[in-house]
Structure formats: structure tokens, C-alpha cells
């Protein structure tokens, strides 16, 4: 029915219209009508802010249930490196990967290694890149969708190197199908995700027809079983379990982790959508031209801040940073072979498979003259509103409300302050407030 797949659903039974989601949505994609929230599909970028904000847990992330595994003859878990930060400090990646094999996966792939390879590939890419700067990294699908929807002019700034999770899924599938003499579609690759937005990047990739991943399972869903399964994993020496950790890739779980590996003179790392909006606004204004590379995550602190993680986000951020410190101190540099990466790079191993297109919002009207008229009406309506963005009408701001009225999706009478008979006193008060704000 709808053009866009979303990884977020609202449970109308549970929703009691408390409007927390309305106010927090960074793309103003939520409306509350007749006491129930709904999502404007065209505007939603699946960032998941509303999931965390909802006091009734009425907004549900759609990830795959664990049972999906039975659909395949052979299954491979590809955990986000943020999974490594969800447990006590002595539980290292090797043990976690072994634990995953105990809870039902046939194999578990260390994504941090692929992240390390992609770090090298980005270095190669930057060396020969001559397009618009700053380059924006694409690991966070919410950021990619934000650019498609809200900053279509910046689409050429997004890097054409694919995500480690996609490359890893593609390659492990290829390898395992040869090894086990299975067809590729008999092998299921599952991303263990810290956030719902990775789900849409699998169901509906931003740039290509089909993802190499077969599903995404929430870290919150496997956390309990994994924790108990790890108790049965035989202990390895601390030194030995450190040795397999790719120092370049492990940092990808936290904001700043990619920039750290690139050693650029001018690169920035930003997390949290409100901060990203400020940075992208500045790029649109022509600022930040001296910045070569931007690493942006819609979740605070990076992927460890995803809404489907368990550990406190600051604590997990700290764990990753300390792990990197330890590896540096112990002089453990388990890294991909740079010559091999360069060789693969030349074979276009790391590039995205399609072309990323903008997804700008529909104009107010298909007809230019009518669109101008509607924009004029929107301004006039807006001027007549209290401009306090109370949200009581069910639109997030007075400006959005004015637009909704022009589009015929809301009635002017939905504004409390327009119901003069009941609220004339409040209206007068508000008017005064508005005048004095204007005078300032």
C-alpha cells in the first residue's frame, strides 16, 4: 500500500495521545488526531526517537523474531560491534561470538574486522576523491534517510563505500556456500542490531534493490539467552582473547571511532539528531567546507546509544574506549592486511551497488501557481496562530499546523486558540505575549 517500508509501528490500542513522540520527532513526521498518534510515511526517517520517548511503549520497533533462523539451513550472526559493549568488561568479543553459536547460530562473524577493512578502504577513497566536501559517512541509515528527505542537496556528499555489515554478509555468504556446498539463499545472515533503523536498511536499502542481510534481530531480544549461554563457553587466556580484536574496527561502535582510524587533519564526529541537524544546516549554508569527513550517528554516543541496547550508553561508550586503550597499551594491532584491502578496493569490492537518490518531500501542490497560493495561505494562517507550538492541535508546531490546514489534513478549529468562545481570555493573554516577543 505505501511506498516506504518503515521499521516503526504505532499500537493504536496502547497509544493514548500523550504527544511525547509529536514533540521529539526531528522531521515533524508525527501527528496526533482523535487522540492517536500516526506517522507521515513520507517524512519518517526511522530514527527511533519516538520509540524511546513513548511513555506507553506504544511505538514498536519491527525487528525479526529469533524464530526466523529456522527458515535457513545455515545461519550466520553478524553482530554490530556495539554488542561487545553490552557485557562486563572481562567478557571479550571472542567469548561473545562463541556464545552466539551456542544459542542457535551456526556461525558468528566478527564485524569489527570488516569495519577495519572499510576504514582502510575509506582512506583509499579519500585519497582520490574530488567531489563536494565534507564527505558524509553512511553507516547510520537514519542519517542517510535524513539527507534523502530533508537535505536532498547534500546527497552527493554521501560516501559511495558500502557498509561493513553489507560487505560482510555478501562475502560470508559467498564463502560459506562454497565451503558447505549450499546455495546462497539457503544461508541466512542476521545482523544483531542496536537500533530499529538497520531493519529498514535491510528491508528497503536506500540505494539498491536488495540487501545481502536476511534479517535483523534486536540486541535486547538475544541478550538474556546469550548471557546464560556464555557461561558455558570455556575460558580463554585474557591475552589470547585480546589478540583477535581488530583495533581499527572495534571503535566503530562509538561516535568518533571511524574518524580515529582515518587520521585526517579535518574531520568531525557528531551524534544525536538535533546536533546533526545543526551540522547539516551549516553545510547547506556553505560552512564546514574545510572539513573532509563527517561521521554522524542519529543515536547519542553512536551505535552503543541505540534504542535496542541494554547497557547504559555512556558506560558502554567507556568500555569501547578503554578496550582500545588496552589494545594500544598491549601493542596488539590485529588489523586487516592493507595491501590486500588496496587490491580489493581496486576491484570495487567496497563500493555501494546502486546509486543513492534524494527523496524530497512532495511540494504543496503539483501546479506551481497553486503551490505559490498555498504557501501564501500557509503564511497567512501561521501569522494568525499563537506561535507557541503547544501541540494541542495534534501538529508539532504552529507552522506544521498551518501547512496541515492548507493541505486539508487539519481544521483551523483544531487550534485551541481559534475556538475563541471558550478561550478568548487565553487568546488575549497569548497575543500580548506574542506582541512583546515581537517587540524584543
Amino acid at each position: 500500500m505505501s511506498q516506504y517500508f518503515h521499521s516503526i509501528r504505532i499500537d493504536k490500542e496502547k497509544c493514548d495521545g500523550r504527544m511525547k513522540c509529536l514533540r521529539i520527532c526531528p522531521t515533524q513526521a508525527i501527528r496526533v488526531r482523535q487522540g492517536k498518534a500516526s506517522i507521515i510515511e513520507e517524512k519518517c526517517i526511522d530514527c527511533g526517537e519516538c520509540i524511546t520517548a513513548c511513555p506507553n511503549s506504544a511505538i514498536i520497533p519491527l525487528t525479526d523474531p529469533f524464530g526466523e533462523l529456522t527458515k535457513f539451513r545455515y545461519t550466520i550472526a553478524i553482530p554490530s560491534p556495539s554488542l561487545y559493549a553490552q557485557f562486563d568488561r572481562e567478557i571479550l568479543p571472542g567469548k561473545i561470538l562463541a556464545g552466539l553459536k551456542k544459542i542457535g547460530f551456526d556461525d558468528a562473524y566478527d564485524l569489527a574486522f570488516a569495519c577495519g577493512e572499510v576504514s582502510f578502504a575509506i582512506q583509499e577513497y579519500l585519497r582520490e576523491y574530488e567531489g563536494p566536501k565534507p564527505l558524509i559517512f553512511n553507516a547510520c541509515p537514519a542519517v542517510v534517510r535524513l539527507v534523502q528527505v530533508k537535505y536532498p542537496d547534500l546527497i552527493d556528499h554521501i560516501i559511495s563505500i558500502d557498509n561493513p555489515r553489507e560487505i560482510a554478509a555478501r562475502e560470508t555468504k559467498k564463502k560459506k556456500s562454497k565451503q558447505l556446498d549450499l546455495r546462497e539463499k539457503e544461508i541466512g545472515t542476521f545482523y544483531l542490531t542496536p537500533c530499529p533503523v538497520k531493519m529498514i536498511s535491510i528491508r528497503q536499502p536506500a540505494e539498491k534493490g536488495k540487501s545481502h542481510l536476511d534479517g535483523a534481530i534486536a540486541i535486547t531480544d538475544i541478550y538474556g539467552p546469550l548471557l546464560s549461554a556464555m557461561e558455558e563457553v570455556p575460558k580463554e587466556s585474557y591475552r589470547k582473547s585480546l589478540e583477535s580484536i581488530c583495533i581499527l574496527g572495534i571503535g566503530w561502535a562509538v561516535v568518533g571511532g571511524i574518524c580515529r582510524t582515518l587520521r585526517l587533519k579535518n574531520s568531525i564526529s557528531v551524534s544525536g539528531l538535533t546536533e546533526i541537524l545543526k551540522v547539516f544546516d551549516d553545510i547547506e549554508k556553505g560552512k564546514l567546507r574545510n572539513i573532509e569527513f563527517i561521521e554522524a550517528y542519529s543515536c547519542l554516543q553512536g551505535c552503543v546509544g541505540g534504542s535496542l541496547t541494554v547497557e547504559n550508553i555512556y558506560s558502554s561508550h567507556n568500555k569501547i574506549v578503554k578496550l582500545i586503550d588496552t589494545l594500544e597499551f598491549e601493542k596488539i594491532k590485529a588489523c586487516p592486511d592493507i595491501r590486500e584491502v588496496r587490491n580489493l578496493y581496486r576491484q570495487r569490492y567496497f563500493f555501494i551497488e546502486g546509486k543513492l537518490e534524494p527523496r524530497p518531500l512532495k511540494p504543496l501542490d503539483e501546479n506551481l501557481a497553486r503551490a505559490i497560493m498555498k504557501r501564501k495561505q500557509k503564511e497567512e494562517i501561521y501569522e494568525s496562530l499563537p506561535q507557541i507550538d503547544c501541540g494541542a492541535c495534534g501538529s508539532p508546531t504552529c507552522l506544521d499546523f498551518a501547512e496541515d490546514v492548507v493541505k486539508g489534513e487539519a481544521n483551523l478549529g483544531d487550534c485551541l486558540f481559534k475556538n475563541v468562545s471558550q478561550t478568548s481570555a487565553i487568546l488575549e493573554e497569548e497575543k500580548e505575549g506574542k506582541e512583546s516577543r515581537k517587540r524584543k
Binding site: 547547506e284 549554508k285 556553505g286 560552512k287 518531500l361 511540494p363 503539483e366 505559490i372 504557501r375 500557509k378
Partner: protein, 149 residues
Amino acid sequence: MTRGEENVFSQTFEIQGRNFGKAGNVSTKIKEILKEIGIDSSIIRRTAIATYEAEMNVVMYAQRAELTLNLTPSMIHIRLVDSGPGIEDIELAMQEGYSTATPEMREMGFGAGMGLPNIKKNADKFEISSAVGKGTYLNIYIYLNQKRR
């Protein structure tokens, strides 16, 4: 300016001189409006660059200005009237690379002497006049030719 056309969207914005914190806000706002109306993205880009340069000139040199956007189905017209020092030699100011920017402005990445030439480059029609000691007056026209996104 827009005689004979009744369907005009018109909005006036104020720009404060020396307010670097707010610099760029007006061009961003105009870009938003044009996007909502569905103007072709290459035209939006040209308008945004021209408006941004005009806005920056006010921020750097003038005390204040009023910028008016007039939009009709056939064109975008930006009119800017500022109160400021004015320009002594317009012909010289229109040359690429000519700038009276201070070292501080240059440090901030401005004053490459591309402002006015850049406005002209992105406009279909550009008018400039100035009174020294009083201010500068700009008209920027960009035609739409009904090209839609």
C-alpha cells in the same frame, strides 16, 4: 516589478549587520520556502547562493538590511535594501577577487572577493546601485520557465 501577476508570494526578512551568529538564516529560510513550493532544485541552489552572498555582504559591511522575496509562477525576485557604507566603485567591486574585507573577516573564511560576482553569476538579471554613506540596493532576478522538479 511583478506587474500583471496577481499570484505573488511575498515575504520580507530583516538582516542585522555584524551578527555572524545569525548569518545565513535568511537564505536558509528562503530555500525552505522554495522547496515547499516545489521549485526545481538547480534553481533553488542558484537562489540560495545568490541570497547567501547578499546576506553575507550585509552582515560584514552594513548596519542592517531588508530583504524581500517575491515569487511568481514565472520568476524569483530578491530585493535587498541596506543601510550601510555603500560601495564607492561598483565596477571595481564587481571584479572577481576584489575585496575590502578586514583580516578578521578573511580569517573567518570570507572576503575572497567573490560575493558580488557570484550573485551576478547565479542570477538571470542583476541590478545594483549604491549611495556612498547611505547604502546599497540590489535586485536579483531568477526566471523559472515553468521547470518543475
